[in-house]
C-alpha cells in the first residue's frame, strides 16, 4: 500500500510541476512590465495593421486574450495549453506544436545517447578511481576526469567542429541529416543521421568527467564503512567488494545526479544545437528568441519542460530498484 501511495504522490508532483510551468509562462507573457504581448501588438501595429486587429492576431497566436480580466484569461490559457494548443509561430506561420513535434525526436535521439554513454563511462571510471585511491590508475584517470570536467561541452563542441569537420572533414559541419538522400531505412540515410549526431553526442562526453569525479567522492565515502572491513576479513575478492559493496552503495547519489544531468543536457542542447546547426527543439527555441517569436519560444520552453518532467518521473519511479534504502524511507 505504501509504495502505491508514494507513486501516486510522485505523479501528483509531476502534474503540479507542469501546472506551475504553465502558470509561470502565463505570468511571464501577461504580467511582466514591458511584456511580450504589448511588444507584439506594437510591432504589428507598426506594420500598418489596425490595433484591434493586431490584438486579435496576438490573442490567436499567444492563446492569451490581452483584454480579458486576469482569471478568465488564465483559465482559457491553461485549457488551451492542456489541449495541446501552444499558439501559432509568428516566424513560421505554423502551429507551434507542429514545429516542435517535428523537432523533438531529433533532440531526444542525441540526448539519450549522450546520457547513456557518458554515465556508463563516468560511473565505471569513478568506481575504479576510488578503489585504487592514490594509485597510478587514480592519478591518470583523475587527470582525464579533471580535464573533461573542466571543459564546457560547448567549448569541446566548437573544438570538435573545427578539428573533425572543418579541418579533417570526417563529419558534416552542420545539420541533422544528409541533404541529398531520401529519408527512410536505407544505409546512406541512417549512416548520415549517425554521423550528423556523432559530434553533438561526443561533446556531451564531458559529462562523464563530472560524473566520474562525483562517483569517486561517493565511493571514497563508502570505503570508510565498517562493512567493507568485514567483507575484506571474510576474504572476498577485490572485484566482488568493488562491484557488490562499493558501487552499489555509492550509486544512489549518482542516480540523483544522473536525473539532474538529464535536465542540464536538455538545457545544454540549445547551445549544442546552435553550434552544429542541428534543428532540434533547442535550435528552434533559440532562433525564436532571436526573432522575438514569443509563442514558439514559450512553446519550446514548455515542451522541453514537459519532456524533462516525464523523464524524471520515469526515473524516479524506478528509484527504489536502485537503492532499497530509498524505498524503505519513502
Amino acid at each position: 500500500m505504501v509504495t502505491i501511495d508514494w507513486r501516486i504522490r510522485r505523479l501528483g508532483q509531476a502534474v503540479f510541476t507542469v501546472w506551475a510551468v504553465i502558470t509561470l509562462s502565463f505570468a511571464l507573457v501577461r504580467m511582466l512590465p514591458g511584456n511580450m504581448m504589448g511588444a507584439m501588438i506594437t510591432r504589428l501595429a507598426r506594420q500598418g495593421i489596425n490595433p484591434a486587429r493586431a490584438r486579435e492576431l496576438v490573442e490567436y497566436r499567444m492563446t492569451i486574450d490581452p483584454d480579458a480580466p486576469l482569471l478568465p484569461a488564465y483559465l482559457s490559457y491553461v485549457s488551451e495549453t492542456l489541449q495541446g494548443n501552444l499558439g501559432q509561430s509568428v516566424f513560421y506561420s505554423r502551429p507551434v506544436v507542429d514545429v516542435l513535434a517535428e523537432a523533438l525526436p531529433w533532440t531526444l535521439f542525441v540526448l539519450s545517447w549522450a546520457v547513456f554513454i557518458s554515465f556508463f563511462i563516468g560511473i565505471t571510471i569513478g568506481a575504479l578511481m576510488a578503489y585504487w585511491e592514490g594509485g597510478k590508475l587514480d592519478i591518470g584517470l583523475t587527470s582525464y576526469a579533471i580535464m573533461m570536467g573542466s571543459i564546457p561541452f560547448y567549448v569541446l563542441a566548437i573544438l570538435l567542429l573545427i578539428l573533425l569537420s572543418y579541418r579533417l572533414g570526417w563529419f558534416p559541419t552542420g545539420g541533422r541529416q544528409p541533404i541529398a538522400t531520401d529519408p527512410g531505412f536505407n544505409l546512406t540515410y541512417i549512416s548520415g543521421i549517425v554521423t550528423h549526431a556523432a559530434l553533438p553526442v561526443l561533446s556531451m562526453l564531458v559529462a562523464s568527467g563530472v560524473a566520474s569525479l562525483g562517483m569517486r567522492g561517493n565511493s571514497i565515502r563508502v570505503l570508510g564503512e565498517d562493512y567493507l572491513r568485514v567483507a575484506r576479513l571474510r576474504g572476498l575478492s577485490d572485484i566482488t567488494i568493488s562491484t557488490q559493496y562499493v558501487a552499489r552503495n555509492a550509486v544512489l547519489p549518482m542516480y540523483t545526479t544522473l536525473l539532474i544531468s538529464i535536465g542540464e543536457m536538455f538545457g545544454g542542447s540549445i547551445v549544442l544545437e546552435q553550434v552544429f546547426q542541428y534543428r532540434g527543439v533547442g535550435w528552434y527555441m533559440l532562433s525564436a528568441t532571436h526573432q522575438r517569436d514569443y509563442p514558439l519560444m514559450m512553446g519550446g520552453f514548455m515542451v522541453i519542460t514537459v519532456a524533462m518532467v516525464i523523464s524524471l518521473l520515469l526515473a524516479d519511479l524506478t528509484y527504489g530498484y536502485v537503492d532499497p534504502r530509498a524505498r524503505r524511507s519513502q
Binding site: 573542466s150 542540464e264 524533462m308
Partner: protein, 372 residues
C-alpha cells in the same frame, strides 16, 4: 590503516574542547570573525559553520583550519588549484589597472598570437587586442561567480537538509518547490528570464549570478536531501533523538557536518557552472552586453565564421583557454578540498564529541545558522 591511528587523539580533542568552552570561547569566536572576514575562498562555508557554533570553536579550528591547511600544502592538486584561482583573482583585480582597454582598429585585423609583443595573444577581425579583452572580462566573470555560487549553495543546502530530515509535511512542501525548480530546465528558464529582465541585468554581473542561481539550486537541494535520507537513519542520529536534542540542533550540528565535503565540492562546482552558463548565454547572444567578455568574444568569433577560417582560430582559442583554465583551477580546488574534508576520521570525531556535548546553548545558535 592510517584511519585507526587517529583514535587515541580523541581524548585530547575532548579536553581541548572542554577547555575552550570554559575559558576562552568568546574571545576566540570574536577573533575568528575578524580573521575570516572577506576571504573569498570556498572555505567560507566552513567558517560560516564555525561562527555559528562558537562553543566548539577550538576543536573546529584544529579540525577545519589548522589541519586542512597543512594537508592542503602537501597536496599537489590544492597547490595548483589555489595558484590558478589566485592568478585569476589577480587578473580580475589588478589586471584592468595595468592592461589598457582595447578599441576597434587599435591593431591590424586578425594578427596572429605570439608574434608581436604589442598584441601577445593576437587581435580579432576589428583589430582589438585579445589579451586586453580577456583581462578586462575577468573581473565581471568573477563577480558573477561569487554571487552565483553563494546563492546556489546557500539555498540548496538549507532547503535540502531541512526537507530531508524533517520529512512529512515540511518535506512535501519543500520537495514540491525543489521539484518544480529541478523539473524546469535551468538553461531555457534563465534564457527566458534573461530576456525579460534584460534592463535590470545589463552591466550588473551580481544580478546575472543571482539569475543563474535561480535555476541551479534545486539539484543540490535534492542531492542533499537524499544524503540526508540515508544519514538520518544512522545510529548517532537515533541516539541524539533519543536524548531529546532539538531538531535544528541535530540537523545543523550533527548531520550537516557529514555533508560538508559534498557542500564544499558543490561550491566550486556551482562556481564553475556559473561561468559555463553565463558564457553560454553571452555566446548565444541572449544576454545584453556593454563590454566584451569571454562569452561575447566567442559570439563575435562564431558570427564572423572564425571556426571555418584557419587564420582566425586564435580568436576562439583565447577565450576558450581562459574558461577552461579557471575551470581546471576550480576543479582541482574542489578535488583537494574533498580530500581534506572527506576522511572518515573527521566524521568519527564529530560523533564522539557530540555525545559529550549535551545541549548547552547550541539551540539558539543553530537558529542563527538557519537564518543565515
Amino acid at each position: 590503516m592510517t584511519r585507526n591511528s587517529e583514535t587515541p587523539t580523541d581524548d585530547d580533542e575532548r579536553m581541548d574542547f572542554e577547555n575552550a568552552i570554559v575559558s576562552d570561547s568568546d574571545t576566540d569566536a570574536n577573533e575568528r570573525i575578524e580573521t575570516d572576514g572577506g576571504v573569498g575562498t570556498p572555505f567560507e562555508v566552513v567558517s560560516e559553520y564555525e561562527e555559528t557554533r562558537r562553543d566548539r570553536y577550538r576543536k573546529l579550528y584544529d579540525a577545519y583550519v589548522h589541519a586542512p591547511i597543512s594537508i592542503i600544502w602537501r597536496d599537489w592538486r590544492a597547490r595548483i588549484g589555489f595558484t590558478i584561482v589566485a592568478i585569476y583573482l589577480l587578473m580580475g583585480i589588478v589586471g584592468p589597472l595595468i592592461v589598457e582597454p582595447t578599441s576597434v582598429t587599435e591593431g591590424p585585423a586578425l594578427a596572429a598570437p605570439f608574434e608581436t609583443m604589442e598584441y601577445p595573444l593576437g587581435t580579432d577581425n576589428q583589430g582589438r587586442d585579445l589579451l586586453s579583452q580577456t583581462v578586462h572580462s575577468t573581473s565581471t566573470i568573477l563577480k558573477m561567480v561569487l554571487s552565483g555560487a553563494v546563492f546556489t549553495v546557500g539555498i540548496g543546502t538549507i532547503v535540502g537538509s531541512i526537507a530531508g530530515y524533517k520529512g512529512g509535511m515540511t518535506d512535501t512542501v519543500l520537495s514540491s518547490i525543489t521539484d518544480v525548480f529541478i523539473n524546469i530546465p535551468g538553461f531555457p528558464l534563465v534564457m527566458v528570464l534573461g530576456l525579460m529582465f534584460d534592463d535590470q541585468i545589463l552591466g550588473n554581473p551580481y544580478a546575472i549570478g543571482i539569475l543563474l542561481s535561480v535555476a541551479s539550486w534545486g539539484g543540490l537541494a535534492r542531492a542533499i536531501r537524499s544524503q540526508m535520507l540515508t544519514l538520518r537513519e544512522e545510529s548517532f542520529v537515533e541516539a541524539s533523538q533519543a536524548m531529546g536534542i532539538g531538531t535544528s540542533t541535530i540537523v545543523f550540528k550533527e548531520i550537516v557536518p557529514h555533508l560538508m565535503p559534498f557542500v564544499v565540492i558543490n561550491l566550486t562546482n556551482a562556481g564553475r557552472k556559473v561561468i559555463f552558463e553565463a558564457v553560454a548565454l553571452y555566446y548565444l547572444g541572449i544576454l545584453p552586453f556593454q563590454d566584451l567578455n569571454w562569452g561575447s568574444i566567442l559570439n563575435q568569433a562564431y558570427g564572423a565564421n572564425a571556426h571555418a577560417r584557419p587564420d582566425a582560430i586564435h580568436w576562439f582559442l583565447v577565450p576558450m583557454f581562459a574558461i577552461v583554465f579557471i575551470s581546471v583551477g576550480l576543479t582541482l580546488l574542489g578535488q583537494s578540498l574533498d580530500r581534506v574534508f572527506n576522511p572518515r576520521v573527521r566524521a568519527r570525531h564529530e560523533k564522539t564529541t557530540a555525545d559529550v556535548e549535551g545541549e548547552g546553548d547550541g539551540e539558539t545558535q543553530t537558529q542563527d545558522a538557519m537564518g543565515v
